[in-house]
């Protein structure tokens, strides 16, 4: 089972930062305070949507067929995510 990467603090709901990274090969640990990249601040569903958009070469029509939704529904979802990413970038 692949564990989900938490994005928000369970105590105060603020965005989490990365404080430690570990090399799975030699066990080297790196500490610091790194902000999560914008793409990782999205929900898993939104990340999957962006990945699907990328893999369909940006064709919303193809994505609509794959997702079983209509073209305007998929377009609206993309527009909403664009607004969300812009808001995250502005922070």
């Amino acid at each position: 089972m692949k564990p989900k990467l938490p994005i928000h603090c369970p105590s105060c709901a603020e965005t989490l930062n990365v404080s430690q990274l570990t090399c799975s090969h030699c066990q080297t640990g790196i500490s610091g305070n790194y902000a999560l990249p914008v793409l990782l601040q999205l929900t898993e569903e939104e990340q999957q949507f962006i990945l699907a958009f990328f893999l369909s070469s940006g064709s919303l029509k193809e994505m609509a067929t794959q997702m079983g939704n209509s073209y305007p529904t998929v377009r609206n979802k993309l527009d909403d995510m664009i607004e969300k990413v812009k808001a995250l970038n502005a922070k």
Binding site: A64, G68, N69, S70, Y71, P72, T73, R75, N76, D79, D80
Partner: protein, 197 residues
């Protein structure tokens, strides 16, 4: 799930599927209107008429669809520049499906006979009193009114669902534009269809 599809098919089905359903419904609705004596004499109107020529319901529906689509497209473009005319057109075509059931209530001039008897009771109407009507006729009119309102609500729900999907509208102001577009379309279609009789 099926109720959701009846109220909002626009999220799932493609524009070509909706166009097919809307076109078929328009054709069948026009035939039913001719057979049972109904006119779609406004963007959100259905009335029964004694003499209906075969081309009239087809023209009514086509004109109403184009007029309402244009009005909603203008509103949609103002809300979201990416609004496509095809999405608005299929929304209007599919939303009008509930209206096409209304002529069925006038089989054998059932409803229009009752309303005509009310209107022809001139003496009572001139005196300002309520015309004589049997309990059965009153009950029929009440049931018909309730069912008609239900179909009208279904039309509005379908129309708004499709408009919302086509334009990604969110705010109360967008709903106001939606309502204004319907009012404008109703005024224009009513004037033109009445004068074209």
């Amino acid at each position: 799930m099926k109720i959701k599809l009846l109220l909002n098919p626009f999220e799932k089905y493609t524009e070509s599927q909706l166009l097919t359903v809307g076109s078929l419904a328009m054709f069948v609705g026009s035939v039913l209107a001719y057979v049972f004596g109904a006119r779609f004499d406004g963007a959100i109107d259905v009335h029964f008429s004694e003499y209906v020529r075969i081309y009239q319901p087809f023209f009514d529906n086509l004109f109403n669809i184009l007029c309402l689509s244009f009005a909603l497209w203008i509103a949609g473009k103002y809300i979201n520049d990416k609004t496509r005319m095809i999405d608005i057109l299929v929304t209007v075509m599919v939303a009008r499906v509930p209206f096409y059931f209304i002529p069925l209530f006038n089989i054998n001039n059932f409803i229009s006979d009752i309303t005509d008897s009310l209107l022809n009771n001139e003496a009572a109407l001139r005196a300002g009193s309520f015309p004589d009507i049997s309990m059965f006729d009153l009950a029929v009119l009440l049931v018909f009114a309730v069912i008609s309102i239900a179909f009208f609500l279904w039309f509005v729900i379908l129309l708004y669902s499709g408009f919302k999907t086509a334009t990604n509208s969110k705010t109360a102001t967008h709903k106001l534009y939606f309502a204004l577009a319907i009012v404008c379309a109703e005024i224009v279609t009513k004037i033109i269809l009445v004068y074209s009789r």
